[in-house]
Subunit: 194 residues, 2 copies
DNA sequence: ACCTGAACACCGTTCAAGT
DNA sequence: ACCTGAACACCGTTCAAGT
């Protein structure tokens, strides 16, 4: 008897996330996770079939949080304001969770056939597509979303990896790029550039 | 006596690049490199002080090639045409060298204080900045470059990781995003959207 | 049902010893 | 000068054995 669980699925994911954020992906070993959780490494394999599996679960958690943050920023009446605030929320989340954020876009070709991961990703894009559909029409919304998300992710990827090396104000660069794209996408219906 | 070199600095970098492109970063171990080069692993450490060091060198090679490809695409008379062709060259290079391309933006916080790496990166951006300076004025050029490069890198990062999952024509999405941004940056002086 | 120690194959890296 | 075998600490993962 005995053999009562010393931890939980969610507990392991949380510890993994913490180790990742604190010391990067190299700090996230199954042995370190097991240690922090108070268990031996082999026990982790009862709950996650591999390290990839655990990373995928962490990515899922991160995506859900990112989606929630971005959706909270939607403004009821203005598409421009919504997109501006969603973009700010997106950037704030990425800067607060840099390692987890980068996991979403990098290590995940594994997850292509993972149903739940796919669903979370689609949900995360839904709010953006809805707003752009209303503002640009359904046929252009997907093109607009891809333009906007590409800019956002590219900007964050460069900012987090400290690849903006010519000096200048990074916040201004973000505002400039975002307003350039939003004005172009929303046309004269949107707010004009300040 | 004997002990003549069985390989060279450049030979090792080329093999590493090949292993990386063929089987991803997991395929690029010091033992695999040594094996492919016809030497034992410890010998590699005479030329590269660590695996990171080798990866950094591979990244440098990649950056130089990327810079050369993009610069070849410059058009003598039209800023719009130059930027359009440079963007196409950038995308073509990334799709032809997906793993090496991703290395540039991911694994490289190590290289922040590496002089030569820094220089290569600055040079790679110089052509773009020059063209935008002529078209937008010097004060706006850096902002415009950051907008454009963010879009390009974000788009490629998503495309290479197969994260465009709503269907639709990816080439059309690239053309749409690029022309949206170029028209907005270059104003009525540029070519109008098709 | 869950946990464990022991073991396996594989890493990156160091170093004394060879030619 | 360059290469090598042996060794170290660490990793992901498996599995038979414990309670």
């Amino acid at each position: 008897m005995s053999a009562r669980p010393k931890t939980s699925d969610a507990g392991i994911r949380a510890v993994a996330r913490k180790l990742l954020e604190e010391g990067g992906i190299d700090n996230l070993s199954m042995l370190a996770v097991a240690d922090a959780v108070g268990v031996r490494a082999p026990s982790l394999y009862k709950r996650f079939s591999s390290k990839s599996d655990l990373l995928l679960a962490v990515t899922g958690d991160t995506l859900l949080e990112l989606q929630a943050s971005v959706e909270k920023a939607v403004h009821p009446r203005s598409a421009y304001r919504s997109l501006e605030r969603m973009a700010a929320a997106y950037r704030a989340f990425a800067k607060k969770n840099p390692r987890a954020y980068q996991l979403i876009f990098e290590d995940i070709p594994l997850s292509l056939d993972d149903r739940s991961d796919r669903d979370v990703r689609l949900a995360a894009a839904a709010a953006l597509l809805r707003i752009l559909s209303e503002a640009m029409g359904e046929e252009k919304a997907l093109l607009g979303a891809r333009t906007l998300v590409s800019f956002l992710h590219g900007f964050l990827s460069m900012e987090l990896n400290e690849l903006f090396r010519f000096g200048g104000d990074i916040n201004e660069a973000f505002r400039f790029g975002l307003s350039t794209i939003l004005n172009a996408l929303l046309g004269s219906g949107g707010r004009t550039r300040r």
